[in-house]
C-alpha cells in the first residue's frame, strides 16, 4: 500500500520526503539531545533584557508623561516578554502546534480587557454623577 501510494503520487511524495529530511536536520536533531543552543545566544539576550529594562526604568526616571510614556512602557514590555518566551523558554524552536496552543489563548485576554474598560468607564460615570463630593 505504501509503495503504491508513493508511485502514484511520486511528486507529492518527494516533496514530503524533502520536508521530512529537512526536519530531521533542523529540529529533529536538536530535539534528540534536548534544546541545545550556543551559550553566546543566551548572553546576548541577557544583555538585551538589561538594556530594555534600563530603558523602561529611564522612562520613569525622566518623568515622561502621557501617550509617549504608555507606548514606550508597552513597547519595552512586549520586547522583553518576546525575548524571554522565544529564546529563554525556547518557544522559537518548538513546533507550531505547541506554540500556537500556548500563545494564542492569552491574546484573547485582550477581549476581557476591552469588556472591563467599558465596565470601569460606566462605574466611573456613575460615581461622578451620584457620589461626587458635595461642597
Amino acid at each position: 500500500m505504501t509503495n503504491a501510494a508513493v508511485h502514484v503520487e511520486g511528486q507529492a511524495a518527494q516533496h514530503a520526503l524533502q520536508t521530512y529530511v529537512h526536519d530531521a536536520v533542523a529540529s529533529g536533531a536538536a530535539h534528540t539531545k534536548g534544546q541545545q543552543h550556543p551559550i553566546r545566544l543566551y548572553l546576548v539576550v541577557w544583555g538585551w533584557l538589561f538594556v530594555l529594562s534600563t530603558c523602561s526604568y529611564l522612562v520613569d526616571y525622566f518623568g515622561i508623561h502621557g501617550h509617549l510614556r504608555w507606548s514606550l512602557i508597552l513597547l519595552f514590555m512586549v520586547l522583553k516578554a518576546g525575548l524571554i518566551v522565544a529564546v529563554f523558554m525556547h518557544m522559537a524552536w518548538e513546533r507550531l502546534a505547541l506554540a500556537y496552543a500556548i500563545l494564542l489563548p492569552p491574546v484573547l485576554v485582550l477581549v476581557f480587557v476591552a469588556i472591563m474598560m467599558f465596565e470601569s468607564g460606566y462605574t466611573h460615570l456613575l460615581r461622578t454623577i451620584f457620589f461626587a463630593p458635595t461642597a
Partner: protein, 240 residues
Amino acid sequence: MAETTLVHPKAAPGTIPGWRGIAADWASDQRAFKNVSWGKAMMWIFLLSDTFIFSCFLLSYMTARMSTTVPWPNPSEVFALNIAGKHIPLILIAIMTFILISSSGTMAMAVNFGYRRDRVRTAALMLATAAFGATFVGMQAFEWTKLIMEGVRPWGNPWGAPQFGACFFMITGFHGTHVTIGVIFLIAIARKVLRGDFDRERRGFFTSRKGYYEIVEITGLYWHFVDLVWVFIFAFFYLW
C-alpha cells in the same frame, strides 16, 4: 496521503510548515504535541492557566484604577528610596527587576549545561538562580515592611485611592509566592542533579519514575515564567 505513508512509523514525524502542519499535528493519532514530552507539555499548560490567573489580577487592578474618582497614588514616589542622601524614584523596583533578569540568565545557562550533562555547572547555576530568587523575595519583604510602616493597608493608604493597597498586596504577594515556590523547586532539582540522579536514571522518591535532564528545562520554564510575569507587573503596576 503521501505525507503519512512515506514517513517510517518509528521515525520522528516530519514538520509540514504553517497552518497545514498545525492542523496535521492536531488531527494526528494519539498526541498533538510531537517531540514534546508530557512533562514539558504539562508545564506549558500549567503556565497557560497561571497566565490567566495573573491576567485576572492585573485586570481587576486596571478596573479599580480606571473606575476610581480618587487619584491613584504615584508609584514613582511611593517606591522611591533615599540612598546616600539622594532621592531616587522607583530604585528598589529597578534593582529587583535586574536581579530577576539575572536569575533568568543563569537559569537559561543551567538548562544548556544540563543537556551537556555537566552536573556541577548545572547545579551551581541552578543554585545561583535560587540565590537571586531568594534575594528578590528578601527585597520584596523589605518593600512590604516599608509600605506597611508607612500605613498602607488593603483598605486604605495615606496617598490616595484606597484600592492601591489591595491591588499591591494581592499582585506582588502572589508573584512573591511563585518566586518562593520556584526557589524551593530549583533547590530540590539542583540537589538531584548534583547527586547524579539523571545520569544513573535513579527513580524518584515520590513518583518512582526515572528522571532525565529535561526536568532542568521544565524547571527553567517555570522560572522564566515568574520573570515574565514580573515584566508585566513592572510595566502595569509600577511604571504606568
